[in-house]
């Protein structure tokens, strides 16, 4: 056990699974790094943010390879490799690039098991960076997990910390279905205690990072940290919150969300993806339909506006949900009084 960064936790998960299972291979743009660069350095980059660094040196060109800048071709190749016996982990770099290879994911990988009557397996992991706050502009900052969540046949993971990232990535690699694994690019230097040994965290089991009586906060990925921060501040004022990290948006642990809302009667959802048809609307619909009687106040969503992610730093800061906005949403549902008497 030692402190590891989000980046190190992911690197360690990849390394340990590659050691354990020779069928695990890595492919992506610049993940070996430097092939074709001016100095011809091998293993120079480890992906644009250094997550796979060292793996090329340890496992060699047979198992870690740089691909051409053609998402359609290498994601397609990874889908085919998975269907024919390997367990590829393909890195899409920025999740925004999915537009170039959506057919391979949506119409091929996600459909094989269903359309071949369960006779085909596609043990594929696609890793990609997501999220705003990195000053990377509108084409490199989106939080597209709702897009994948919408597609039956895909599993979608949004880890919230280094410990979570390692265990969930190992689970993703061992899973026989295609898994989209989304890493918030602002979190790579976050650190916490992470076991040195391999471990796996099951999909579809939410984690309660705080437990309280007054308000349930459901948050995704990086937003879990902001929700915890808000909950800790509110606790000092006597408002106690449950914070739910669903870990996976597909499958979604709706049972835990419903149980917590039944206990607290109030719900705030924090989602950094664009606000229409996102996880906040999905969870709000779930609770409105199945736990309506438990609600003591309207459901509040803490989400960005429906615009592309701004490049200007001040605007990007204004765009993203933060702990202060979560705190004020919680206070508003606590302050809510029903104006009409119940009939």
């Amino acid at each position: 056990m030692s402190k590891k960064s989000f980046r190190q936790a992911i690197n360690e998960a990849l390394r340990q699974e590659m050691q354990r299972d020779p069928r695990v291979i890595l492919m992506g743009e610049d993940i070996a790094g430097g092939q074709g660069g001016s100095a011809g350095i091998v293993d120079a980059w480890g992906g644009v943010l250094g997550v796979t660094k060292g793996l090329y040196t340890e496992f060699g060109p047979e198992r870690v390879f740089d691909t051409p800048i053609s998402e359609a071709s290498y994601i397609g190749a990874a889908v085919g490799a998975a269907a024919t016996g390997l367990r590829p982990v393909a890195e899409l770099m920025f999740v925004d690039f999915v537009g170039s290879c959506l057919d391979q994911i949506m119409n091929q990988a996600a459909k094989f098991r269903y359309m071949f009557g369960g006779k085909a397996r596609t043990p594929l992991v696609i890793r990609a960076m997501y999220g705003a706050g990195f000053n990377a502009a509108a084409q490199h900052s989106q939080a597209l997990y709702p897009l994948f969540t919408h597609i039956p046949g895909l599993k979608v993971v949004v880890p919230s910390s280094p410990y979570e990232a390692k265990g969930l990535l190992i689970e993703a690699i061992r899973d026989d279905d295609p898994v989209i694994f989304l890493e918030n690019k602002v979190m790579y230097d976050d650190e916490e205690e992470v076991p040195d040994e391999p471990y796996s965290i099951p999909f579809g089991e939410a984690n309660l990072t705080r437990e309280g009586d007054d308000v349930t906060i459901v948050a995704f990925g990086r937003m879990v940290n902001f929700a915890n921060e808000a909950a800790d501040r509110l606790e000092k004022d006597g408002i106690s919150c449950t914070v739910i990290d669903p870990r996976t948006t597909s499958p979604l642990d709706s049972a835990t969300i419903l149980e917590c809302v039944e206990d607290t009667g109030r719900l705030v959802i924090v989602d950094e993806s664009s606000p229409r048809c996102n996880m906040a609307t999905d969870v709000a619909a779930l609770v409105a339909e199945q736990a309506f009687d438990a609600l003591k106040a309207p459901i509040r969503q803490v989400v960005p506006p429906h615009t592309p992610v701004p490049f200007a730093t001040v605007l990007e800061k204004l765009y993203l949900p933060d702990a202060a906005r979560i705190e004020s949403a919680v206070r508003s549902v606590m302050a809510y009084k029903k104006t009409k008497q119940d009939a």
Partner: protein
């Protein structure tokens, strides 16, 4: 004058503790306290425990307020005889706080070394050592599903004049997950090999639950290594075992299902903290952990009964032996301590469950210290 003033500082209950909260003071300011008297309750993320006064004297100042959270080593209060002037106490406090904020005293209480990894044959064991001195060392052996953290309230208390060793058994905590055949005899062989590796010829053994059966097997196979036996709610002395605990511990994979299982361990259910449940869930997620527990359960508790009868070993053990048991134990029955020779003292603790070393740490530590001296 400062040698007449004793600072009361935030204790460190176990390796992971960095801060604690004073939940209540049990002694009013100005009252006399005896060394060992519980003066405050301290809550950590893992457990709430009474804090015993390090010395006798008058509680001249209570610095920490109830509800306050402070780092390990922080000044909670000051003990001194009435003869010491208020001015001297104020000066002492000012100096302590200045030193503490500059970091020079921060680790005086926390001189606990980090655990080390020790190779024993094919296995790697996580070992935590504390203390030094010439007296015979103490070895602690935890039980099924436990780890060295089970001794967090005991190890330091025994470390004042001797070396003490806690470790994670194979399959547990941070040790290798290969449990071999999963029998107490197998674990006893590993324990003997660990002692050899640490160059320790003889130890007082303090063992809990399944660790008790391991200690008895160690006494059978290597009697020369065992100076004395202190068995806390030990296995090996009867047939009964709460299989709902064993099976539930193995199968429960989330807080909601695990917490009721862990409730079997203690009489005061509030002791099972969120952090304790989370730590066990995290342990069980490690590759090989659940398989290891299954192998142990099958080897030690086949058909829902304890496999091995180690009573004869205890009866014929030539060194001193004692038994400590919680009267409200819901995992192993304290009735198993009946009908033993009079030479083996049995301490039954009222309103105490299966983990007296956590639930009644002060009583257990007193019994252990008396025994090893």
């Amino acid at each position: 004058m400062t040698d007449l003033i004793t600072p009361i500082t935030m204790p460190k209950f176990g390796l992971a503790m960095t801060e604690g909260k004073i939940t209540s003071w049990n002694i009013p300011s100005g009252a006399h306290v005896e060394a060992g008297q519980e003066i405050a309750d301290i809550e950590t993320t893992k457990i709430t425990n009474g804090y015993e006064s390090p010395a006798s004297g008058t509680l001249r100042r209570r610095i920490a307020t109830e509800g306050e959270t402070l780092p390990v080593g922080a000044l909670l209060g000051v003990l001194a005889e009435p003869a010491v002037s208020d001015a001297d106490i104020d000066a002492f406090i000012a100096k302590f706080q200045a030193d503490f904020s500059s970091g020079s005293t921060a680790d005086t209480q926390a001189d606990h070394a980090e655990p080390i990894m020790v190779s024993v044959g094919d296995l790697t064991l996580r070992v935590q050592e504390a203390g030094q001195g010439d007296a015979t060392p103490v070895l602690f052996i935890h039980g099924f599903g436990g780890d060295l953290g089970n001794w967090m309230l005991n190890q330091n208390a025994l470390s004042t004049d001797r070396r003490t060793i806690t470790f994670d058994l194979p399959g547990h905590g941070g040790s290798s997950k290969n449990v071999g055949d999963g029998t107490p005899a197998g674990f006893a062989a590993t324990t003997a090999a660990l002692l050899d590796k640490l160059a320790i010829t003889s130890v007082h053994v303090v063992a809990h639950s399944l660790g008790g059966a391991i200690a008895l097997d160690l006494a059978r196979t290597c009697p020369q290594k065992v100076a004395s036996l202190s068995l806390i709610a030990p296995a090996g002395l009867g047939q009964g075992i709460n299989m709902d605990f064993i099976e539930g511990f193995i199968s429960a994979d989330r807080r909601k299902t695990l917490e009721p299982v862990l409730n079997y361990l203690v009489h005061d259910k509030t002791l099972i903290s969120r952090q304790m449940v989370e730590d066990i869930i995290r342990f069980k997620r490690l590759d090989g952990a659940i398989q290891g527990l299954q192998t142990i359960a099958k080897a030690c508790f086949p058909h829902g009964r304890q496999a091995e009868d180690l009573r004869p070993v205890l009866v014929s053990f030539s060194g001193p032996a004692q038994i400590i048991w919680g009267e409200a134990d819901e995992v192993l029955s304290p009735d198993d301590a009946k009908n033993l020779p009079d030479t083996i003292p049995v301490t039954l603790l009222p309103l105490t469950g299966h983990m007296p070393q956590l639930e009644k740490a002060a009583d257990v530590n007193a019994a252990l210290i008396k025994f090893v001296k």
